[in-house]
């Protein structure tokens, strides 16, 4: 055995508001990995950090904006996307990323997602999907798998969930991907591709929430969920997205990949000249 390794610095230290640490996330949460991955993608994208802006809504993922040392906005529940639209349209120089959770973006903010994608607004949208409302203590949300147990589905979830990549793709998003926080290199590459594109870009990132979801649904701790991803995930960019549902069962597959990369006219308000 070698001795202990002391890390003096991390390549994205300057992108973290160290004076805000420790963060509020639970042990085993996937948000730290996702945030670090995005931070390094911001740096590696080569875009000036002063022009990169992160907007979040409410929830555990909503706190991501607050830990990143760029211009960052922690808005109201569900409204990150329209807030980001205002920023982007009023200053087209900005590279605006919306970083929020599944409940924030697809339940209370679902309508905004729908219309922003339809318009093809120039936004980079990252959704951390942990299958539940974590911050309020593990209630079911719009991506909770059928039958799953949460504090508000003690008898099992009766509602079919959204298949986010299928939703985004059907709305015309120009870039659509799904990865997990285990597939961090692929996620990093995918984020770079998204940052390099214009239009409405969407990346779903599956992340463990052992406290709110994993433990009560036969998956276990954070590390167990990472093993689960390793066993159950397959990478297939050509998959039929309509079939790419997520059941989070030990006998079901999760399809990952960069699924959509198309070009479509980017939203410009009526009457606008470039």
């Amino acid at each position: 055995m070698s001795g202990e390794i002391y890390v003096q610095a991390h390549p994205v230290d300057h992108l973290v508001r160290a004076d805000r640490l420790p963060h509020i996330w639970c042990p085993g949460c996937g948000l730290g990995s996702a945030t670090a991955c995005f931070a390094s993608a911001m740096v590696d994208s080569g875009l000036p950090l002063d022009k990169q802006v992160v907007v979040s809504g409410i929830g555990c993922t909503g706190r991501v904006a607050g830990y990143l040392n760029v211009d960052s906005f922690h808005t109201t529940h569900g409204r990150a996307i329209p807030f980001a639209i205002g920023l982007k349209l009023a200053n087209p120089e900005l590279q605006v990323t919306v970083f929020s959770g599944d409940g924030d973006m697809f339940a209370i903010g679902g309508n905004h997602f729908l219309h922003a994608a339809r318009r093809n607004v120039d936004l980079n949208v990252v959704c951390i999907n942990n299958f539940n409302y974590g911050m309020t203590g593990g209630q079911f949300g719009p991506t909770t798998p059928l039958g799953a147990r949460t504090t508000t589905t003690p008898h099992g979830n009766a509602e079919p969930p959204f298949n986010l990549v299928h939703v985004a793709s059907s709305l015309g998003a120009v870039f659509v991907a799904r990865w997990t926080v285990l597939h961090i290199r692929q996620l990093h590459r995918s984020m770079l591709r998204a940052l390099d594109k214009r239009g409405f870009r969407f990346i779903e990132v599956l992340a463990p929430c052992p406290v709110g979801f994993g433990k009560s649904n036969d998956i276990g701790e954070g590390l167990d969920e990472m093993w689960f991803y390793r066993r159950q995930c397959v990478i297939d960019p050509e998959t039929d997205l309509a079939q790419a549902t997520i059941e989070m069962k030990h006998d079901s597959r999760i399809v990952l990949g960069d699924f959509v990369d198309i070009e479509r006219p980017v939203f410009r308000p009526s009457g606008w000249e470039e």
Binding site: R17, D19, R20, D50, K51, V53, V55, A65, G66, N69, V70, D71, S72, F73, H74, T75, T76, G78, R79, I81, P82, F83, A84, I85, G86, L87, K88, L89, A90, N91, E93, L94, N111, H112, L114, H115, P269, S270, G271, W272, E273
Partner: protein
């Protein structure tokens, strides 16, 4: 590209609809971003701006709802634009969520509410004035709003400039509480030349400043405002926050912050409050009114004078902050107050609270203007 022929300020004398004058006031004030959702009776504001804003290099965007509209103008404001939205009752209710975010994050913008009859869908095409307390208390938590009440198309123009100036000066969302009658009536409007307009821009961090704290207030309790994209790496949150903008789950920080965002309006009340007084100097009966109802009140006061009754009008051009001090001055114990408004006594209670005496209420739930005769009757009753 800005069309060369397009003038930002349509200086001159016009015969102009109130909603149109509102849009022109916004443009003259330097509004560069509008996000909204169509709703009667405010729609003409959006229509005018959809036509004019893009030609002036601005941005008009019709959002999916009023929640998104309000969020978008806050975002635009942080990108440096003077931004606004316009709506009516039901939309105003939806905007209360992010009105609160705007207050908490100290984001300049203007919200126009062309009031119609409520609650709920109420009377979409007919006048109301029953959102004035919603302006004061409609978003959760404590705050001190600034709200204007135009009584003519001319004031739809003038008060939009005042509202943008106040929003920028005090770094907050400012309300214009218009009504359907004022929005839809057409009357003479004089637009001054651009160089005669007094426009205020937001207080900014000193040039070259780096890492400016977005919530470090100056002596006037208003913090200079850094923008996104300037390199300050600001953090802005609706959570209770410290001077850095960082969340603080802390009773002391909460009390300091919420007191400051209220006090920044209270300490400047004298320069914000705008009143029109007609014949109040010797009045024995003072009618308090605002918006379209104040037009009836003016006529009633003049009619009472013709009958030898010493009546006066105190018209609230700003509803909030409330002119409590002036009310207390006027309430010398012998004067009587009549409050005329198109709701069931929202501001009447406020008048009574400050004059410490019961007022005569002339109220109506909306749908038609209160006629001068109803107010005259109240003046005559109060005088006997």
């Amino acid at each position: 590209m800005i069309a060369a022929a397009e003038r930002r300020v349509l200086a001159g004398r016009h015969f102009m609809n109130g909603d149109t004058a509102c849009a022109e006031g916004a443009l003259a004030a330097g509004c560069r971003f509008f996000a909204g959702y169509p709703i009667t009776p405010s729609t003409e504001i959006a229509e005018r701006l959809a036509e004019r804003l893009p030609r002036l290099g601005g941005c008009f965007v019709q959002m999916e709802d009023e929640l998104g509209s309000m969020a978008a103008i806050l975002g635009a404001s942080w990108a440096g634009a003077k931004a606004m939205t316009a709506t009516s009752g039901p939309g105003f209710t939806l905007m209360m969520e992010n009105f609160g975010l705007g207050l908490m994050t100290e984001t300049p913008c203007v919200i126009v509410n062309v009031q119609r009859g409520g609650p709920s869908t109420g009377l979409p095409t007919l006048v109301g004035q029953a959102d004035v307390m919603q302006a004061k208390w409609g978003s959760h938590g404590d705050y001190e709003p600034i709200a204007y009440a135009p009584a003519s198309p001319q004031e739809m123009f003038d008060l939009l400039i005042a509202a943008f100036n106040a929003a920028e000066r005090y770094r907050m969302p400012v309300l214009v509480m218009a009504d359907e009658v004022v929005g839809h009536m057409t009357e003479g409007v004089t637009i001054p030349p651009a160089e005669e307009l007094h426009l205020v821009g937001r207080k900014r961090p000193p040039a070259g400043a780096n890492g400016w704290l977005p919530y470090a207030a100056d002596g006037d309790l208003v913090p200079p405002m850094p923008l996104a994209g300037e390199g300050h790496h600001i953090h802005v949150t609706g959570l209770t926050h410290d001077e850095r903008g960082y969340p603080a789950t802390d009773a002391v920080v909460q009390d300091q912050l919420v007191r400051r965002i209220s006090q920044k309006v209270q300490v400047h009340a004298a320069e914000i409050i705008s009143l029109e007084e007609l014949l109040t100097h010797d009045a024995e009966t003072i009618v308090v009114s605002y918006g379209c109802t104040a037009r009836s009140a003016r006529q009633a006061v003049l009619a009472a004078r013709e009958r030898g009754v010493k009546a006066g009008l105190l018209r609230l051009i700003t509803l909030w902050p409330f002119p409590g001090e002036r009310m207390r001055e006027l309430a010398d114990g012998s004067r009587r107050f009549v409050v005329a408004e198109m709701n069931l006594g929202q501001m009447a209670r406020e008048v009574e609270r400050h004059t410490r005496a019961p007022a005569v209420w002339v109220t109506h739930a909306g749908g038609a203007m209160i006629p001068p005769t109803a107010i005259l009757r109240a003046i005559m009753e109060a005088a006997t």
